[in-house]
Symmetry: C2
Subunit: 206 residues, 2 copies
């Protein structure tokens, strides 16, 4: 499959397609269509066909998509046909909930370690993990070759944590701390802040 | 201020501007500029000036923005110059973490109730809340006039919960369940799924 630059907005829709078809597969389904996917996702069937066609030939007009084939292809495109180790920094409520979260299963991710700098938390158990001291973080992450991390610290600590993670080799950060982080161009960053998501909706409420 | 339709992509940036200037205010800052905001957020200064100009006159060329004025205006535009009651449905790890989350403070939201259908959870305490039975949800939400909810149930339950919430008068849903929900046009929906955010980044990792 020839690689050419794909707009990030298209890349951003692929995980949604994948989640939908994985759900169909779990329900025993074999074939789907751009129409059905579109209805489930609130995206036009034409858009879905156009998005997928950028990566190759996934189905024939009129016969739909083979679900297992589509899953394999999208997982390959998104590089989640392997399991990535993910580090969590911050063993508070959000970090602990993520450490226990079952939703990473079959999505390409596995929590590998959880760090905190609070002496009361270091050494304690969260799910099957022992909370490690942040002072060991750069060394541990480098040793384990971890390239993805989730930051769940309070806002004031988040930028320094991000700097340490990047120094250790992390190249993708999911930031739950309610602050904008500066990262170099070779590092990907996404943020999750429920207040930001809610405020985007209250604009439309009267 | 005359209201005209604003693109949703612009609306989506306002909460980020607000969070940044609120942080500056907390640090005792008085004035900022589109340049400074842009550097913090990774958005061009020109884009920020253009976005804000759609809502009125917030600053003069060369003198920057008064931070408290900008905060008041954006809060007004986003309708978070009041506090919205928010219901949580699902008292598992994620719902409980949200019930305890301190990050809604000063952002326009207040958790008002948490529901679950598990008899073992109903009646138990989460932070200062008693978990209520989902069977009472429509009645309670209607009575309290709650219009915003966060769904933190397992995927199979989420659509039915959404239907009940909408029946009860909810018009904005933040969906943490890893499934796409169908909602009518008069209901706003945003989703948070860490695997989706992570997969959007692994595309760029090799």
């Amino acid at each position: 499959m020839a690689k050419k630059p794909i707009p990030d907005i298209v890349v951003g829709r692929l995980p949604q397609y994948l989640r939908s078809v994985q759900r169909m597969a779990a329900q025993g389904r074999v074939v789907t269509s751009s129409q059905e996917l579109g209805e489930r996702l609130g995206i036009s069937a034409a858009q879905i066909r156009k998005d997928l066609s950028q990566f190759g030939e996934f189905g024939k007009q009129g016969t739909g998509y083979q679900i297992t084939f589509l899953i394999d292809q999208i997982r390959h495109i998104l590089h989640v046909d392997k399991e990535w180790d993910v580090a969590i920094v911050g063993a508070g409520d959000v970090g602990s909930a993520l450490a226990r979260y079952k939703g990473f299963h079959n999505r390409g991710f596995r929590v590998a370690a959880i760090f905190d700098n609070d002496p009361e938390k270091v050494g304690s158990r969260v799910d099957s993990f022992t909370v490690l001291d942040t002072s060991r973080m750069v060394e541990e992450i480098r040793k384990a070759g971890i390239r993805i991390a989730m930051i769940t610290t309070p806002a004031p600590a988040a930028q320094e944590v991000a700097n340490m993670l990047i120094e250790a080799g992390v190249r993708a950060i999911l930031n739950y701390a309610p602050i904008s982080l500066n990262v170099p161009n070779n590092v990907r960053m996404q943020q999750i802040d429920p207040s930001i998501h809610l405020q985007r909706m209250t604009y439309y409420l009267d």
